[in-house]
């Protein structure tokens, strides 16, 4: 008997397709939802049914709870998968599902609320015995501050409570600077955020971002599937993820896994979740819990031979968790975002051509197709390239090889940056931290520059040569006589304008 009859997939892009694939394998029908911009999207074409939600802006479509739940009710769905982003961490959406008698393939609304509030999440974590970055959060005054800083050890950070994204942070290295820095930080915070609350935290040197994948069923069982290291990031946007994390010992891994499971139990968690930690010098500290499936979940799937979406569906249907298999080998994921590799500005346009990697140990989760328009309305991620190898060295080599095979024409991607990461000495040694992307050397070798110039000059020459051949032939149909024009479409227009 199938677990559910029909699942509404309340998302778009690769994750919608990812969920549809597993549902199909489980004999469950799928209902896609789509915005104006996504009429031709692959998730619409691959689903059993599809419902148009409205305008291209997320607020008019994928973020509109009434429309999404309405579509699920109208199509007779008995479950809803929120994917990541959009409604996935909105407790109101989970509530609305419950009210409509539809199973939400995620945690209960209370767990979403508890973990969504960062202050509350910290308190719950502390009560559950999960380590936090030591510091002083409340009732901060000069005396208490000095005492707290002595306890956690220097350097320490002073952070504006209302700050974020790196703003309002001050690093203090010695006690004699602390009180003065505190007063300055307060004045700054008042000026910048209209809120002068400042708190103290230990300054974690060379932090790594390490997260634990957990899964809980409705019978009180909680398991973890080890860790993923996601330190290759810029402004909290992850680019390369891997598992296992080279820095962890088996004992540390078990401690982190147990802490993550304890936190899940503390909030009555059900389904898939990720507990994010900062790791530094043998210590780990709770960052936050993401109450949904993560983008990088395939890294875990490759190592543990598990289908996490399938497990989500099974536990939501009331089944017990399957035992966790022994992990094997090493997995790496690279996010293929449509962006300029130098500025990281989004690169929009039409995906005119692509060729995709294959071969042993390569998985590509994508919703790309030829003709896809990359629009400004949504996230710029086009695909995720995931590789698995017997060990880390093989996984790195395989990842490089697969990136070279991947060709996308029409928009640019940050794949050149990913290649540099894979080549980087720190990364290869496994001795890196969240600052690695800023330290990556992006310069080209003289050999590479020369090769690129040679190729470019030759391409330009070929275009001119074909144009000359055509012009010598008189004004016949260029497309028929000179097929090279149809491929160099823009060159053709240029040439015609000139003639």
């Amino acid at each position: 008997m199938p677990h559910f009859r029909r699942i509404l997939v309340a998302n778009r892009g690769e994750i919608a397709l990812r969920v549809i694939r597993t549902a199909q394998e489980m004999g469950i029908e799928t209902v896609a939802v789509f915005s104006d911009a996504d009429r031709n999207a692959l998730h619409v074409r691959r689903a059993s049914c599809a419902v148009h939600l409205g305008g291209s802006r997320p607020a008019e479509s994928y973020l509109d709870i009434d429309k999404v739940i309405g579509a699920a009710v109208a199509t007779g769905c008995d479950a809803l998968h929120p994917g990541y982003g959009f409604l996935s961490e909105k407790a109101a959406a989970a509530e609305a599902c419950r009210a409509a008698g539809i199973e939400w393939l995620g945690p209960p609304p209370d767990a979403i609320v508890a973990m969504g509030d960062k202050v509350q999440a910290r308190k719950i974590a502390m009560l559950a015995g999960v380590p936090l970055v030591p510091g002083l959060q409340e009732d901060v005054d000069a005396d208490r501050l000095v005492a707290a800083a002595r306890e956690v050890g220097y350097p320490v950070m002073l952070k504006a409570a209302a700050g974020g994204g790196g703003k309002g942070i001050r690093i203090v290295r010695e006690e004699k600077q602390l009180v003065e820095a505190f007063e300055l930080a307060r004045a700054e915070a008042r000026g910048a955020f209209g809120d002068d609350r400042v708190y103290l935290e230990k300054f974690v040197t060379r932090p790594r971002h390490v997260e634990i994948q957990i899964m809980a069923d409705k019978h009180g069982n909680v398991v973890h599937y080890g860790e993923r290291e996601c330190s290759v990031q810029r402004r909290h946007q992850k680019l390369v993820e891997e598992s296992p994390c080279v820095a962890l010992t088996p004992a540390l891994r078990e401690r982190m896994g147990a802490a993550a499971c304890d936190l899940a139990r503390a909030v009555g968690y059900v389904g898939a979740g990720t507990v994010e930690f900062l790791y530094s010098a043998g210590e780990f500290y709770f960052l936050e819990m993401n109450t949904r499936l993560q983008v990088e979940h395939p890294v875990t799937e490759m190592r543990y031979g598990v289908d996490l979406v399938r497990e989500q569906i099974r536990v939501a249907a009331g089944e017990e968790l399957a035992p966790v298999a022994e992990p094997r080998g090493h997995a790496i994921e690279v996010r293929v975002n449509a962006e300029d590799p130098n500025t990281y500005f989004p690169s929009l346009g039409r995906l005119s051509r692509m060729s995709l990697p294959g071969g042993p140990g390569v998985r590509l989760d994508s919703a790309m197709f030829r003709g896809l328009e990359v629009t400004p309305y949504y996230d710029s991620m086009l695909a995720k390239l995931i590789v698995h190898g017997e060990d880390r060295a093989q996984a790195i080599a395989r990842c490089e090889r697969a990136i070279r095979e991947l060709r996308i024409v029409g928009v640019s991607t940050a794949m050149p940056v990913a290649l540099r990461v894979l080549h980087n000495a720190e990364f290869r040694a496994g001795d890196y931290d969240t600052g690695i992307l800023e330290r990556i050397d992006r310069s080209l070798t003289p050999e590479r520059r020369e090769l690129a110039m040679l190729a470019a000059v030759a391409a330009r020459f070929l275009v001119a040569e074909r144009a000359g051949a055509k012009s010598a032939d008189g004004d016949g149909d260029a497309r028929q006589r000179v097929p090279v024009w149809s491929m160099l479409g823009r060159g053709e227009r240029l040439w015609r304008n000139r003639s």
Partner: protein, 166 residues
């Protein structure tokens, strides 16, 4: 045929000749043997440089050649002699008007100025949103907005003219 290529600030001169079906490309005191072959009807080429094989996707738009090869993306400017001469002339002209163009496609979420407004250097003129990021576009220098070419809420393409400052 003589070309001037520029990449990452490096400029070099190349001379290309076709002999016996091959391209002979000379730069400085070295000559390379190139075999550039179109694959299918696409923009894909097989390139052999002195026998070394490269799979290349090339897009040629006037003097802008964009390449994808060896896992990298290169934007090379390749001018022929005539274009080089024309650019040298254009470079000497001084224009009174400055254009603000969209550096990327996006949605105009805010227009901070109107026609006739005086603006100062560094002042935010337009806020362009692309993929959840709001990007303020700033005035490069002082002047007066003489023409507005976009509306709030409008989706604009990369390179679209947003406004003119004099």
């Amino acid at each position: 045929m003589k070309y001037f290529a520029e990449l990452d600030g490096e400029q070099r001169e190349f001379v290309v000749e076709r002999r016996a079906g091959k391209l002979w490309v000379t730069t400085g005191d070295r000559t390379f043997e190139l075999d550039l072959s179109l694959v299918g009807d696409g923009a894909t080429f097989s390139l052999l440089v002195d026998g070394h094989s490269y799979d290349v996707v090339a897009d040629v738009e006037r003097d802008q050649v964009t390449l994808q090869m060896v896992g990298e993306r290169f934007a090379v400017r390749v001018e022929d002699e005539r274009e080089r001469a024309a650019h040298a002339v254009a470079g000497n002209k001084v224009g009174g008007k400055r254009e603000l163009r969209a550096a990327m496609p996006g949605i105009v979420v805010d227009l901070k100025v109107g026609e006739g407004d005086a603006v100062e250097e560094g002042q935010t003129l337009v806020v362009l949103e692309a993929m959840k990021m709001q990007n303020p576009l700033l005035a490069e220098g002082p002047g007066k907005v003489v023409r507005l070419c976009c509306k709030k809420g409008e989706a604009v393409a990369a390179g679209a003219l947003l406004l003119e400052i004099e």
